[in-house]
């Protein structure tokens, strides 16, 4: 939302597929939206056909989505299927949009370990927004109450997944035990008391500082951390 508001300002359209009486929708309106479109669906319906039909006619150039749903299956497949259905390119983990001009957008993609990658993508495109994107602005109560929730009627397609599978409360995952596969007592004792040591490290002793630095730099370049 914040990314969209910064990009498009008041030309931003916000779309939700599901229940119109969801109280969280008002909080989005409070961020400074005039109206919010809701494709009305009962829970358990497949959101994909409705969204595909809507987006095909909406005339949007950039579609931003979340990473995954917080309820239901939450597989995170929706943006991928939408992109496949619409035939648009998909950027995963969007952190920032740098520029949009001439039908081409320059965007920054968030990678693990705080890294960023710059991508050039043709419009129109679909993007899932990463946690690294700008933090949302505060939601105001007055605009939240004034804003309009515009309901659109769509045909409901039931999701066949939930017939074959069951949702159950999450079980805590078993913690992996450190299994020591030792044949004798002496080995077990050794495994329990040994210090962490590689043992096979290369030691450069009595070399010049120059040679030592070169060896270190060679390893850093091999590992790809020095570019």
């Amino acid at each position: 939302m914040e990314l969209g508001l910064q990009l498009a300002g008041d030309k931003l359209q916000v779309l939700h597929a599901g229940d119109i009486h969801e109280p969280a929708l008002r909080a989005y309106l409070g961020m400074g939206l005039e109206q919010l479109h809701v494709l009305q669906q009962p829970s358990g319906a497949d959101a994909l056909p409705a969204l595909t039909d809507y987006l095909r006619d909406a005339g949007a150039q950039v579609v931003l989505t979340g990473t995954q749903a917080e309820t239901g299956e939450g597989s995170g497949m929706l943006p991928f299927l939408l992109a496949e259905n619409l035939g648009w390119p998909l950027v995963v983990g969007l952190a920032q949009v740098e520029s949009i001009e001439g039908g081409v957008a320059l965007v920054l993609q968030a990678l693990p370990r705080g890294q960023r990658r710059r991508l050039k993508v043709r419009l129109p495109f679909l993007a899932t927004v990463d946690n690294a994107a700008p933090k949302p602005r505060q939601s105001a109560y007055g605009p939240a109450q004034r804003g309009v929730l515009q309901a659109d009627q769509v045909t409901v397609v039931d999701d066949e997944l939930l017939t074959a599978s069951t949702l159950q409360p999450a079980k805590p995952r078993p913690k992996r035990l450190k299994v020591i596969k030792a044949k004798s007592g002496a080995d077990r004792m050794k495994a329990a008391t040994a210090k962490a040591s590689g043992g096979t490290g290369q030691v450069l002793k009595g070399v010049t500082a120059q040679a030592g630095a070169d060896a270190i730099l060679k390893l850093l370049i091999e590992e790809g951390v020095v570019r």
Partner: protein
């Protein structure tokens, strides 16, 4: 215990000299022999050795430490080889290969693949581009397919999906397994699923009895469903392969991969301020300890390398670094891929903190310290000189790379 073989020339001389009164005592004792009636006879007194205090010690581990037994080099344990000459079906795994090597998540996934393959199926690993892994056989790869080429380099998810489709056409594997990780597997798996039109099972943490259980929604619910063809496995979804060795036979694609027009162009990594990356996420940490005397030079080197700075407890206590930069048991447990320790001797608390690091480089004056035992590469010497040489080497490397590019 050291591995130096110590000889006793006098005892050897007595053992050779049949006329010496102690000759019989110096003969190697036979512990068991075949008796005249075909029975195996054993000498219960023959085992063990006389310890330093004159007491007989028996070490049943087999690695006898006394002087009597012949010392043998520690043999590398050869695990039994698991062969699949005619695979009935394939289980396909696409590991992430962060840094060109199999990670623990990839190994867990290969373990899961073996669970699904059983005796008749073969585990086929699909690897894109160059790799540095040498232990595919131990990790449980029966067949290895390396897709090489310019088009798979860098960030090319659409082209990789084309590659996977070609694999799917040729081998038609029973299951596809990908890691549900941020380092590429989650994205590639979902793209591939959308391209195939399969419904994947995501965030799967258990596969049992033709059922797979994965986290659903925001993690408050589990979704149990029949085993899907495409599985995106969570971390620790199964135990990694540890009891068998595998063939890792190379296979090739019979058809060429369709080229897709890249709609997303990779313009390369963007320089990120290394100090802004949280310590526990940083990929490359340059850490200083008590042995660093010139802190200005230390900061300069970290900036030249583009590394996140860390410190040992001593450096933080002495006020040279901020508390949030401390690595170790009372600071941050880091997960860096490369960790450079300058002037850190390696207290056990510090070594715990870097337990998850992949490559450790140590610069130290003391060749006997614990950090050197942990490190993959250690340079013994004065840190200031080495750091200066390192700055010069990096500058030379960068300018050389620019000249090559120009």
């Amino acid at each position: 215990m050291s591995d130096i073989i110590r000889r006793d020339p006098r005892a050897q001389w007595i053992a050779r000299n049949r006329l010496h009164p102690l000759h019989a005592a110096m003969q190697p004792v036979t512990h068991s022999w075949m008796g005249p009636n075909g029975l195996l006879r054993k000498n219960p007194h023959g085992q063990g050795f006389i310890g330093p205090n004159g007491i007989k010690r028996i070490d049943r581990s087999g690695a006898q430490q006394g002087g009597m037994s012949k010392r043998s080099a520690v043999a590398e344990v050869q695990l039994p080889l698991h062969q699949v000459p005619q695979p009935a079906f394939y289980i396909c795994v696409v590991p992430d290969m962060v840094g060109g090597r199999l990670g623990s998540h990839d190994r867990d996934l290969l373990g899961l693949a073996h669970q699904l393959a059983g005796q008749d199926g073969a585990v086929l690993a699909v690897v894109f581009g160059e790799h540095k892994e040498s232990a595919f056989a131990q990790a449980g790869v029966d067949r290895l397919l390396v897709l090489q080429g310019q088009e798979f380099e860098g960030y090319a998810p659409e082209q990789r999906v084309q590659g996977l489709r070609a694999v799917d056409n040729q081998f038609s594997p029973r299951h596809w397994l990908l890691p549900d990780s941020r380092s590429g597997g989650a994205e590639l798996g979902r793209r591939f699923a959308a391209a195939l039109g399969e419904r994947p099972a995501t965030r799967v943490w258990q596969v049992k009895d033709e059922q797979c259980i994965g986290r659903a929604g925001a993690g408050l619910q589990d979704l149990a469903r029949p085993l899907a063809r495409l599985i995106l496995g969570a971390v620790e979804c199964a135990e990694p392969v540890s009891e068998t060795r595998h063939e890792a036979l190379p296979v090739e694609l019979s058809t060429s991969v369709a080229r897709s027009l890249a709609r997303i162009e990779d313009l390369g990594a963007v320089a990120v301020d290394p100090a802004a990356i949280p310590m526990d996420e940083a990929e490359f940490i340059f850490s200083g300890g008590n042995g660093v005397k010139d802190w200005a030079l230390f900061h300069e080197t970290a900036a030249a390398l583009g590394a996140t700075e860390g410190a040992s407890r001593v450096a933080v206590d002495d006020g040279f670094m901020a508390r949030d930069r401390q690595v170790g048991a009372s600071g941050t447990w880091v997960t860096a891929r490369v960790y450079v320790a300058v002037g850190i001797s390696g207290a056990i608390q510090h070594l715990q903190g870097i337990g998850a690091c992949d490559k450790v480089v140590a610069i130290n004056l003391d060749p006997g310290c614990d950090m050197i035992k942990r490190a993959d590469l250690s340079v013994i010497g004065e840190s200031a000189e080495i750091l200066q040489a390192l700055i010069a080497a990096v500058a030379a490397y960068r300018s050389g790379a620019k000249r090559d590019a120009a």
